[in-house]
Amino acid sequence: MSTDAHAGHDLHGHGGDHGHDAGHPESTLGGYLTGFFLSVVLTAIPFWLVMSGALGSKEATAVAILVLGAVQIVVHMVFFLHMTPSAEGGWTMMALIFTIVMVVITLTGSLWVMYHLNTNMMPMDPSQLP
């Protein structure tokens, strides 16, 4: 990986001799094609699952498409956005991990709190309305 990472260094205007900056990794045709192939498969499967109802239960389908979506995001990160632990001396990875933590807190927190808020509201069906 390190040879890959150093190949694209002319873009930075300074050499790769200092340790904290591993630079932006070089893109390769193989990497893009692998990412594209995996993305097509990982997009086609969830659409097929939902449109055909192949798994039977809704819960199983929901879990499956969420997992496939998460895997596809990782595929895009690795093959298209070239995320590696060494890119830019690890700072892009640090920023990404921090962002993922914030995103998880935002999403789970909102959904969790608001779900309980909804279910704990006073039950009322339309016939009780004035």
Binding site: G13, F36, S39, F80, A95, L107
Partner: protein, 211 residues
């Protein structure tokens, strides 16, 4: 004690306890990292919009539900448009690395076509929904839907405007270092939008039809 420490520091003044980061960075040396940080903050914007949709996505106000509105084959076509535009932008970056400006411009043009097709399909979908009365004002579900998907579409629009700008830049000034840097930034932006779209079609469209 303190004088001793001070002296020790003086004698071994080469031992530094912080990162000695005073070497010259070339122009634009930190642009890609800075742009990545921008993308991460943009990611938080989308996280909030996703959370809003997650909370309000079931509040139809007796209006149309996702099952009534969403046309999955059309969404699949739209998704493939964005996916194709991602790989063609990848090809443009590969040509850029080989310093072949004309081929790079060709791939950038193809990417623009796919991006434009994506926007066209999305706008026609919106127009169709609004024509059927499913406007953003209709229910909380539709408000949050249009905000989330519309924000993504707005990003794609700006990505295409940026792409047109860069086509003109490269056409006039060639593949200079600055233009290469800009092309790499737009590459990250474009692939990032595809990542957000994975969340949209999974969480909004597929889960919505499933609900």
């Amino acid at each position: 004690m303190t004088t001793m420490t001070a002296e020790a520091v003086k004698t071994e003044d080469k031992r530094l306890f912080y990162v000695a980061d005073e070497h010259e960075h070339g122009e634009g040396g930190s642009t890609l990292l800075g742009f990545w940080l921008y993308l991460m903050s943009d990611c938080l914007v989308f996280a909030v919009l996703f959370a809003t949709y997650g909370v309000l996505g079931g509040s139809y106000a007796a209006g149309p539900s996702p099952r009534d509105l969403f046309d999955l084959p059309l969404v699949a076509v739209n998704t493939s448009m964005l996916l194709f535009s991602s790989i063609t932008y990848g090809f443009a970056v590969l040509e850029m690395q080989k310093n072949r400006a004309n081929r790079m411009l060709l791939w950038l043009f193809v990417t623009m076509l796919f991006g434009g097709a994506f926007l066209g399909i999305e706008l026609s979908e919106f127009a169709h929904m609004i024509h059927e009365g499913a406007t953003p004002q209709r229910s909380a579900f539709l408000s949050s839907f249009f905000t989330l998907v519309g924000t993504h579409g707005l990003h794609v629009t700006f990505g295409i405007i940026w792409m047109i700008t860069l086509v003109i830049q490269v056409w006039k000034f060639g593949l200079s270092e600055a233009n290469k840097r800009r092309l790499l930034c737009l590459s990250m932006f474009w692939h990032f939008l595809d990542v957000v779209w994975i969340g949209v079609f999974t969480f909004v469209y597929l889960m919505g039809v499933l609900r």
